[in-house]
């Protein structure tokens, strides 16, 4: 095992330890906090596929996070009110179905956004993904059917067969399992031929083209997979908060997802997990001390970008693996 693998394992175990300790100590709120960490980590693992492996700095991943959230909210509200969806389909409160819908919906939107955005590169790509996410944000605010800016409440948390999701610890394990699965997917992708081509496209596009691989399609596939994972996280986030609103789609959310990755370490397997843990803890503890916590968050971020480029995992594990 390399040092980074060991550290990744330690980070994931640390996340697992929080709710177990909280249950033993009777501090049930820390379970909620750990669940939040796991879900944000999952969203960031998704973004890390595009950003870390593909070098695609998407500043609009909040769009997919929000679409996943709305998939959960809309299906649950139709199930709760016993109203059929268009085409006579029923709503549902079964998590597996909601997840599939969230993944498919995010993937389709990502296909459309990616198809246009990936024609460009660099700064253009950053700004276009941002602008598309804004477009969806404004649409969600002004679209009256599902609460607009007021958002949509999920009155009872959705169900997973055989698990009591109303129990905080059980719901944490559901989220944690999906996080582990996404980390597995990330490792598989990174080690696969597809991952190699994707990383090659980031480093040297011409070389890839000469061996007959079109970087556009590889990137588009990565972008869509990335959006699907983030969309799944959005569905879980809606269930954690029992609420969805356009703020899940805002550009601050996109920024936060990037921040999680940078705090943890770009392209690192456990980087998003470390970043999410650090970010949530920082927001919670510093937010309890001062209303000006965003100022200190800003200073911390600056320090990480300027002086600790590998993020937390980089500090612990040394030089980055990727080029």
């Amino acid at each position: 095992m390399t040092r980074e693998t060991l550290i990744s394992l330690a980070i994931v175990l640390a996340l697992l330890a929080i709710p177990l300790w909280a249950t033993a100590a009777g501090e049930t709120f820390y379970i909620t906090l750990a669940t939040r960490m796991a879900i944000l980590a999952l969203a960031a693992v998704g973004l890390n596929i595009a950003l870390g492996l593909g070098g695609l700095v998407s500043f609009g991943h909040a769009a997919f996070f929000g679409i996943g959230g709305y998939a959960a909210g809309i299906l649950a509200s139709h199930a709760f009110n016993m109203e059929p969806l268009p085409f006579g389909l029923p709503g549902t409160n079964a998590m597996p179905v909601i997840w599939i819908v969230a993944i498919v919906a995010s993937g389709l939107v990502a296909l459309a956004i990616g198809a246009i955005s990936l024609r460009t590169a660099g700064v253009y790509f950053i700004m276009i993904t941002l602008a598309f996410a804004q477009m969806i944000f404004y649409f969600a605010i002004s679209w009256p059917a599902y609460g607009g800016e007021d958002g949509l409440s999920i009155f009872v948390r959705n169900q997973f067969p055989g698990v009591n999701t109303l129990n905080g610890l059980s719901f944490f394990f559901v989220c944690f399992t999906l996080l582990i699965a996404s980390l597995g997917l990330f490792s598989l992708l990174r080690a696969s031929r597809f991952g190699a081509a994707l990383q090659a496209a980031r480093q040297n596009e011409q070389r890839l083209a000469t061996v007959g691989i079109a970087p556009y399609r590889i990137r588009l596939a990565a972008f869509v997979i990335s959006a699907m994972v983030t969309g799944l996280a959005g569905a879980l986030f809606a269930d954690l908060n029992r609420f969805v609103s356009p703020s899940m789609l805002s550009w601050h959310m996109s920024g936060e997802l990037i921040v999680l990755i940078i705090l943890g370490g770009v392209g690192r397997l456990a980087g998003p997990v470390a970043g999410a843990m650090l970010y949530v803890a920082f927001e919670y503890f510093l937010g309890g001390i001062t209303e000006r916590w965003q100022l200190f968050l800003g200073l911390l971020l600056l320090a990480v970008v300027l002086f600790a480029r590998g993020g937390v995992v980089g500090l612990l594990a040394g030089k980055a693996r990727h080029g």
């Binding site: 909620t32 404004y138 609460g147 029992r242």
Partner: protein, 378 residues
């Protein structure tokens, strides 16, 4: 309990805390203290703290946290306050969208929520809850009052609001009572700051007056640009755009604007005079309508504490429902859906010395009830 009004504020506090139920109560306040809407949350926090300071009741603890105007943060704080701080009562939320995120799940867990601002219609109607009390207003109320008032002088009103649920509720509320013709109806983008296009349309529409609901920076921008445009038509709106927290930023452009509210600094009753004076002495500024509502919220809780222990939830809720406190709004009762029955006044922006403030010029409704109470089955 009527004697407490004459006894003044200190006396009020003493009479409440002097009663038999010395059971500790923990109140969680979730409000907006950072970000764009912080001015409102700070008024709510400060007025609440003022009431608590005056009551000097050792059995009350208040924990306050900043929601940064983000629904997911508000939910997280609510979870923490319920699970970790073990609060009995939650209060403080300013915005409807945050209230919709927090209130259904909190009241579902048996926590009492008392709203010092924001009254989204679902919580007043079909989804009302015995654990939810609204001390402020139902969202439509101020707009309805302006619609009623407009009937007096105007026949062709142009109406304008941002394109989001509260904006649509606003124009619906206005139209519910306004009987004249509409010169036009426009929805602007949320957060829009330039209204030149809309003002040009109003000028061309032949309207005899304008009703608008544009909270926060949007209202400041609109009112200034309106004054600069030289269009000479009367402006009306709910109090949110002309409350004490935004008037200084608008400046003289706001002078003469008619706006509706359940409260005004010059409202003539003892509790209000004492409140305005104490607030100014403590914080060096005039209180806003949000401060008045929050002050009432605190005194409502204190009054219930004098009648019942919070561990007996049903007795405590019954005590809250009696609303036996000296409201700074004068007459105040709860309707069947636990939303206020109160007067709504029309105020005008005036200048007193160098300070812009509001004066009551008319009463639009006496003992007004909201339109959703009939849908509430409790």
């Amino acid at each position: 309990m009527k004697t407490i009004i004459a006894a003044g504020i200190v006396g009020l506090a003493m009479s409440v805390s002097g009663l038999a139920f010395a059971e500790p109560v923990k109140i969680g306040m979730i409000t907006t203290l950072s970000g764009g809407g912080a001015g409102l949350g700070i008024d709510v926090r400060d007025a609440f703290a003022l009431a608590m300071k005056q009551a000097n009741n050792p059995d009350v603890t208040v924990v306050t946290e900043d929601d940064a105007m983000k629904p997911e943060i508000a939910v997280q704080i609510a979870d923490k306050m319920i699970q970790s701080d073990k609060v009995d009562i939650l209060t403080g939320i300013i915005w409807s969208n945050l209230a919709m995120a927090v209130v259904p799940s909190a009241t579902g867990q048996g926590i009492i929520y008392i709203s010092p601002n924001a009254g989204p219609s679902p919580l007043a109607g079909a989804n009302c809850n015995a654990n939810y009390f609204n001390v402020a207003y139902q969202n439509d109320n101020f707009h309805e009052a302006m619609g009623e008032y407009a009937n007096k002088d105007y026949k062709k009103v142009y109406i304008l609001a941002p394109n989001y649920p509260a904006g649509k509720d606003s124009l619906t509320g206005f139209k519910r009572f306004y009987k004249g013709e509409l010169a036009g109806e426009v929805y602007t983008q949320l957060g829009q700051t330039d209204y030149a296009a809309e003002i040009a349309q109003i000028r061309a529409s032949g309207a005899d007056s304008v009703f608008f609901f544009l909270p926060g920076g949007m209202g400041i921008a609109f009112t200034k640009q309106w004054a600069q445009s030289g269009v000479d038509l009367p402006l009306m709106g709910p109090a949110f755009s002309f409350s004490q927290d935004v008037l200084p930023a608008i400046g003289d452009a706001a002078l003469g604007v008619k706006n509706s509210a359940s409260w005004s600094p010059d409202l003539d009753n003892e509790a209000n005079k004492a409140f305005v004076e104490a607030f100014q002495a403590e914080y060096g500024r005039l209180p806003s309508v949000y401060a008045a509502q929050s002050y009432d919220t605190a005194n409502l809780i204190l009054s219930a504490m004098g009648k019942a222990g919070v561990s007996d939830k049903d007795a405590f809720k019954a005590a809250l429902k009696e609303a036996d406190f000296a409201s700074v709004r004068g007459s105040f009762k709860f309707n069947t859906n636990q939303h206020p029955i109160q007067n709504i006044y029309v105020r005008e922006v005036v200048k007193e010395g160098d300070v812009l403030t509001n004066k009551i010029i008319d009463t639009a409704f006496e003992n007004h009830e909201d339109a959703y109470a009939k849908d509430c089955k409790m």
